[in-house]
């Protein structure tokens, strides 16, 4: 009896503790009824001047507004501006009338001084300030709600630049101590949400009551990060998070999530692709200096097969350097997969008859899709052109690749590109621009940094001219640029990747804007009224 009494008491205590502990810990802690958004990656800074990563850009876009936004049709939509930008006759001054009913989260008014402060601050300390520093000469505020930007040269693409998150206006009074340094853990802007908590583990945003436009459809968002695709996938599948962003979700997981959404278990939203994947050829290398070889390689790549094998068709094959939403051409310019033509071209170049060309292809070893693309192309070549071509693979960590591109180390390298702002120019210029060209070899310019070392005087002329023109004339020049590049083949585009998001069935389907950013303010709980 004593034995039972001695042992029973602590055991009972333990059971009671376990029950209480479990009750406490398993009770869903949702005192604020916030929606949980998950993705991969720690957001280290919410300073618009510092933002250079997709996730930070996504979050800042919900905490602040820009002067303009690209709508879901790809058109420029005024936000903090009252109308479209007015260009002076010499093309060197842009006048932007501003809204008068906008408040910052700290209660101060948004005006031209605030806008000028934010642009100047970005010019001064911004990580990516090079995107405006060579174009914007001066910013004037002739009226309280009128901004004038003086340009160093006419630049049609400046309109797209005005949608950049880096130019999100911030409260000058709040940032008075941070004129020349970053403020990472706070942001006071004009967006539909204001920041309520920032920590390495979690970022919380809540609706801004005095927002000038349509109020948010929910009570707020908690952002948390998981480090692996498996964790993210498991978190949405088990209901531990409400929204999942597709950044860093592996293609296999994307496919299952897509199937789950088709079965009605989750909702899926798809945004416009802003990222393109491509292979850059070093056109001054012994192997690839002959255009015929580059043409042959271009005809040899089966984009559909690669997309199906690598991403189960989730990545769209691309034969243009510009994402579809910004598309300027009705037809794709780059050659289609035609192994017979490829074989003939290789033969003309002296290969195939017992002579096999070996191309070293470099991929970024820390990007799984790059490795799969390389492996699949290698196998596809074995299937289709094994008597002419052999691909040898070489995996290198991405930062090392970026460092060595301009050193001319890689003959062929798989890369990706997302424009700094949604405009065709922000895709064509960084990939093709060249300041000094000699015999189609670029000596100085973006093409050197990008590792192609290719330049074309006619292309350069059209690219420069496009900045002076507007409307259809500008588009014609940009079309010409693409057409020349498709013939010169310093780059072959492979695919583009649409951002996706998934929500639990109790929430509505996620929506994206024209820049590929998730509209968090549009997410609402089907059973809740705000």
């Amino acid at each position: 009896m004593n034995l039972i009494r001695n042992y029973l008491k602590p055991v009972l205590k333990l059971i009671v503790f376990a029950i209480v502990f479990n009750q406490i810990s398993c009770t869903p802690q949702k005192p604020e009824n916030l929606i949980t958004l998950a993705s991969n990656g720690k957001i280290e800074s919410l300073d618009p001047a510092q933002a250079n990563k997709l996730l930070a850009i996504q979050l800042i876009s919900t905490l602040g507004d820009t002067l303009y936004r690209i709508d879901s049709n790809g058109s420029l939509e005024p936000r903090l501006a009252r109308g479209k930008p007015i260009l002076s006759s010499d093309g060197l001054t842009i006048s932007i009338p501003l809204r008068e009913d906008v408040l910052f989260h700290d209660g101060t008014h948004f005006d031209s001084e605030a806008m000028a402060f934010s642009i100047k601050r970005f010019q001064e300390i911004g990580t990516l300030n090079y995107i405006i520093n060579d174009r914007i000469l001066q910013i004037d505020t002739p009226e309280k709600y009128l901004l004038k930007i003086k340009l160093s040269r006419p630049s049609s693409s400046i309109n797209g630049l005005l949608t950049s998150i880096n130019l999100t206006p911030i409260s000058p009074s709040f940032y008075s101590k941070y004129k020349d340094k970053f403020l990472n853990n706070n942001i006071v802007a004009t967006g539909p949400y204001k920041l309520s908590h920032f920590s390495p583990e979690r970022i919380s945003i809540k609706p801004f009551d005095n927002y000038w436009d349509q109020k948010s459809n929910n009570f707020g968002i908690n952002y948390i990060s998981f480090n692996t695709s498996t964790s993210l996938f498991s978190a949405i599948k088990t209901g531990q998070v409400d929204i999942l962003l597709s950044n860093s979700i592996e293609d296999g997981h994307r496919l299952i999530l897509n199937k789950l959404s088709q079965e009605g278990i989750l909702n899926e939203g798809k945004g416009p692709a802003m990222q393109i994947g491509y292979i850059a050829f070093r056109t001054n290398s012994e192997l690839l200096k002959e255009k015929k070889i580059r043409q042959a390689l271009s005809y040899s790549i089966d984009r559909e097969l690669i997309s199906n094998q690598v991403s189960y068709g989730q990545r769209e094959p691309l034969r243009s350097l510009i994402p579809p939403i910004l598309q300027i051409n009705s037809t794709s310019q780059w050659p289609k997969f035609q192994p017979d033509i490829a074989k003939n071209l290789f033969k003309e170049a002296g290969y195939c008859n017992g002579e096999i060309l070996t191309i070293p292809l470099t991929f970024r070893s820390n990007v799984p899709s790059d490795k799969l693309l390389a492996l699949t192309w290698q196998e596809q070549i074995k299937r289709d052109l094994s008597d002419c071509l052999k691909i040898s693979l070489n995996g290198v960590e991405s930062t090392t690749v970026y460092k060595q591109l301009s050193d001319g180390i890689y003959d062929a390298v798989i890369l990706e590109w997302t424009g700094d702002y949604p405009d065709p120019y922000s895709y064509l210029s960084p990939l093709l621009d060249c300041k000094q060209i000699k015999n189609n070899v670029c000596k100085e310019g973006e093409a050197v940094i990008g590792g192609t070392f290719w330049g074309d005087l006619e292309l350069q002329d059209s690219l420069d001219k496009s900045e002076l023109l507007t409307g259809e004339e500008r588009l014609n020049e940009l079309r010409k640029v693409e057409s020349i590049a498709a013939k010169g083949l310093p780059i072959i585009p492979i695919w583009n990747l649409n951002p996706r998001a998934w929500t639990q069935p109790n929430l509505n389907e996620p929506e994206f804007d024209g820049s590929g950013r998730l509209r968090l303010d549009k997410i609402s709980n089907n059973h809740e009224q705000i």
Binding site: N129, P200, R202, F226, T228, T230, T238, T399, Y402, I449
Partner: protein, 353 residues
């Protein structure tokens, strides 16, 4: 010999030993800064030798050479290497770990934010590893060469050989996805705010009497700590079991047995204290290395610790951040190993120094 002489001789031996121990401790303490200087210099050089710099990591294949150079100047990477090194060592001597190149924040502050998470995980894992490891070893010791002993040995070798990322993922899938008992990752439920304090969530929540935070933090800690503990337990069980076996075959144990001393008494009073000494050394070194080395577990369970920070900093070539983390972790390893060595030297009379 008189009793007084014996006491005198004994106290002389103790005094002599204490003096030697003090000398040994001072020597070790004096060597610690030299070791830290060597480590910090090595990490400084290795980072610069590695291809790619923070500008490449930030800008990727963007921006022209002028913009890249401007950023390089802004980050202070244009200065001669020797100047950068001297500046770094000078700052280090003054306790300044510099600013992160990524977000211009103080490296000390950034480390202070993540270090508690790593220490919390490390301590919990070591406790679990010791509990499991020692329990398995004791079961084997109780019935040597039996089935349980064999199973214990297999367990020891198995846990040591298991790939951490694989077992972590399996445990995560089983307990978080299939059974749904525990959260997938993180340190705290997304709807809870960590209390202000030391950064040790368990301690802070107990201090503040916030049992909701305590329960949530324990639930989040359980899976990573158990996984890490399980993986480490093998080394403890094997170490104790092997040492114990060796000690049981020594002359002094056989002498004790021949004097008719009971087996339990021999084990607990004569064999075990000696067999546990290597375990103490391993525990000390493991906890120190765990703080910076539990990377795969931190990645799998999205645990916001120092190892994860180190990985991100290396990817971004954030030199001051990498240097800072390495210096902090090295200091911890050096301090803890120093402490363990002095502790063992003081309690084990066989050790000569």
């Amino acid at each position: 010999m008189e009793a007084g002489d014996y006491v005198l001789i004994k106290s002389a031996i103790i005094m002599n030993r204490s003096r030697s121990l003090l000398k040994y401790s001072i020597t070790r303490l004096a060597l610690a800064p030299i070791m830290l200087w060597l480590i910090s210099s090595l990490v400084f050089l290795l980072l610069r030798v590695a291809p790619g710099d923070p500008v490449d990591a930030i800008l990727g294949n963007r921006a022209d050479s002028a913009a890249r150079e401007a950023l390089r100047i802004k980050l202070g990477l244009n200065k001669p290497l020797i100047l950068q090194y001297l500046n770094y060592i000078n700052n280090l001597i003054h306790g300044d770990l510099g600013q992160s190149l990524n977000n211009q924040e103080s490296v000390s502050k950034l480390i202070a934010k993540t270090l508690p998470a790593s220490i919390e995980l490390g301590i919990a894992a070591i406790v679990i590893a010791l509990l499991i490891g020692l329990a398995v070893a004791f079961i084997g010791i109780a019935k040597p060469e039996g089935k349980t002993d064999l199973a214990g040995r297999l367990f020891g070798i198995g846990t040591y050989a298991l790939p951490p990322f694989w077992i972590a993922m399996l445990i995560q899938i089983l307990f978080s996805v299939i059974l749904g008992w525990l959260p997938i990752g993180g340190r705290l439920s997304p709807n809870l705010i960590a209390p202000q304090g030391s950064g040790f969530l368990v301690l802070d929540s107990i201090k503040n009497g916030n049992f909701i935070i305590l329960a949530s933090s324990l639930r989040h800690l359980l899976l990573p700590a158990c996984t890490l503990g399980l993986l480490l337990s093998g080394i403890f069980s094997r170490s104790l079991r092997v040492n114990f076996e060796k000690i049981m075959n020594t002359n002094y144990i056989q002498a004790a047995e021949s004097r008719g001393i009971k087996r339990n008494k021999i084990i607990f009073y004569h064999a075990l204290p000696n067999a546990l000494l290597p375990v103490l050394t391993i525990a000390g070194l493991t906890i120190a290395s765990l703080i910076g080395g539990a990377l795969l577990i931190e990645v799998t369970f999205s645990w916001p610790g120092l190892a994860l920070g180190l990985q991100e900093a290396i990817n971004q070539r954030d030199y001051p951040m990498v240097q800072g983390i390495v210096v902090v972790v090295s200091s911890l390893v050096v301090s803890i190993s120093l402490f363990v060595d002095i502790l063992i030297a003081s309690i084990d009379p066989r050790i000569k120094y």
